[in-house]
């Protein structure tokens, strides 16, 4: 399919898919807590409600940063699904996240400030593994292009088991789930009030939510890439990984940032880099 077409498809379908994933997440979480939970479409109601609320802010500029966060996340996901260079996709996502963090800094409130610092620590925690995943995929398929990686013959997860496990580890951070939901939490625990999202309201908050949806779809797409030669298995595994992430979220309490950073880097070094070492000897 034409890359532009795929980009458009992502642009339109990803928020729907992402919202449903978020709703599914809340429902499963509720069921695990012996509750019934909201309807699956609840995230859409939330975003639509937020869209109609007044936009309060500490400083008007903070909203511009969030707008560009959303635009760049869409750009990233679109790049990914259009089949482009994986490293560039990673760097584009980093740029998007930087805009989000800067918006929280701009808001200049203690809670958003600490949330921003912790978000940066989270980024520092998962960045090495994300880069190693791209490198691992390159070493296995000789290309950084997602089209090429997807078109590669064998099941990538067989060649990259350590990287896959490390990637799932840091997905827990990327999805902002316990034990690593340091910068903002969807749950009732309000250690930082709403953390990085504290000072945003109305449309801007809705944009943050949508950006998270786009990002979720992109990340699950990356999980799918590990199983690309068996597309149906890939979809099942992607949803399965998401379910696993939700399960871990409900089982664990939040860890301190020192543990999050240390744990992630340890997992990266052992699982990710270990895999790379093995791959480099196989060449």
């Amino acid at each position: 399919m034409n890359p532009w077409l795929r980009f458009l498809l992502f642009l339109v379908a990803a928020p729907l898919a992402g919202g449903l994933l978020a709703g599914w997440d809340r429902r499963i979480t509720a069921r695990m807590q012996s509750r019934r939970g909201p309807p699956i479409l609840q995230p859409f109601y939330d975003v639509l409600k937020l869209w109609q609320k007044q936009n309060l802010a500490v400083c008007a500029a903070q909203n511009y940063y969030v707008l560009f966060y959303l635009l760049l996340v869409i750009f990233t996901g679109g790049l990914f699904f259009a089949g482009s260079d994986l490293l560039l996709v990673v760097f584009a996502l980093t740029t998007a996240s930087i805009f989000f963090v800067l918006g929280a800094y701009k808001a200049s409130s203690p809670y958003s400030f600490v949330g921003a610092e912790r978000e940066l620590i989270q980024m520092m925690a998962y960045e090495p593994m994300v880069l190693l995943t791209a490198i691992g995929m390159y070493m296995a398929t000789k290309t950084f292009y997602i089209d090429g990686i997807a078109g590669h013959g064998g099941l990538l997860v067989g060649v990259l088991p350590g990287i896959f496990l490390g990637f799932v580890f840091i997905l827990e951070i990327k999805f902002r789930k316990s034990p690593f939901d340091l910068s903002a939490s969807h749950h009732a625990h309000q250690e930082l009030v709403r953390g990085i999202t504290t000072e945003f309201s109305g449309r801007t908050l809705a944009m943050i939510e949508m950006a998270h949806w786009y990002e979720s779809v992109f990340l699950l797409g990356w999980v799918w890439l590990f199983f690309a030669s068996q597309p149906v298995l890939g979809v099942v595994m992607a949803l399965g990984v998401y379910g696993f992430v939700v399960l871990v979220d409900n089982v664990f309490a939040r860890l301190k940032w020192q543990m999050a950073l240390g744990g992630a880097w340890l997992a990266t070094a052992v699982l990710g880099f270990g895999n790379i070492i093995i791959l480099s000897f196989q060449r």
């Binding site: 639509l48 409600k49 109609q52 609320k53 709403r194 309201s201």
Partner: protein, 147 residues
């Protein structure tokens, strides 16, 4: 629009409550009553909230806080006073430090009676609040459209 009624996010503030009404409010979040089925989230952040749920009578300290928080809630917003103390000051009405119920500081839209108010009543109050919010939203939109 539909969505406004389906996603009520609550800011729960204890003015000077004995915590009886607070416990009942939090009980609504438990599996027995589970308000999240109605899309309710207890956010601790006024900028994210639609419904300002206040328990307890208002004294000097909480007066300032209620005003600050009320100002930081985005429109359309609804104030729900839960329990007898929040409604009128309850049995503490005559105390020297109590100025009365929540309506002595900010306009209240829904009063939930009881001491302490029962979870079912609180949920009912929130839902009535949603109807008020929808009214306010319609008025907001009418004001925005040029005549």
């Amino acid at each position: 629009m539909q969505a406004l009624k389906k996603s009520p996010w609550i800011l729960h503030y204890d003015a000077s409550s004995c915590n009886g009404c607070d416990i009942e409010t939090l009980a609504c979040l438990t599996p027995v009553f589970d308000v999240e089925r109605l899309g309710v989230i207890n956010t601790g952040n006024p900028k994210h909230a639609d419904i300002f749920l206040v328990t307890g009578a208002v004294n000097e300290q909480s007066k300032v806080v209620i005003q600050n928080l009320y100002r930081q809630l985005p429109e359309p917003k609804v104030v729900v006073a839960v329990g007898a103390c929040a409604a009128t000051g309850g049995i503490f009405r005559e105390c020297y430090n109590v100025s009365g119920g929540v309506d002595s500081v900010v306009p209240v839209d829904v009063y939930v009676p009881g001491c302490s108010a029962r979870p079912e009543a609180i949920i009912d109050g929130v839902l009535k609040g949603l109807a008020v919010m929808e009214e306010k939203h319609k008025r907001m939109q009418l004001k925005e459209e040029p005549v």
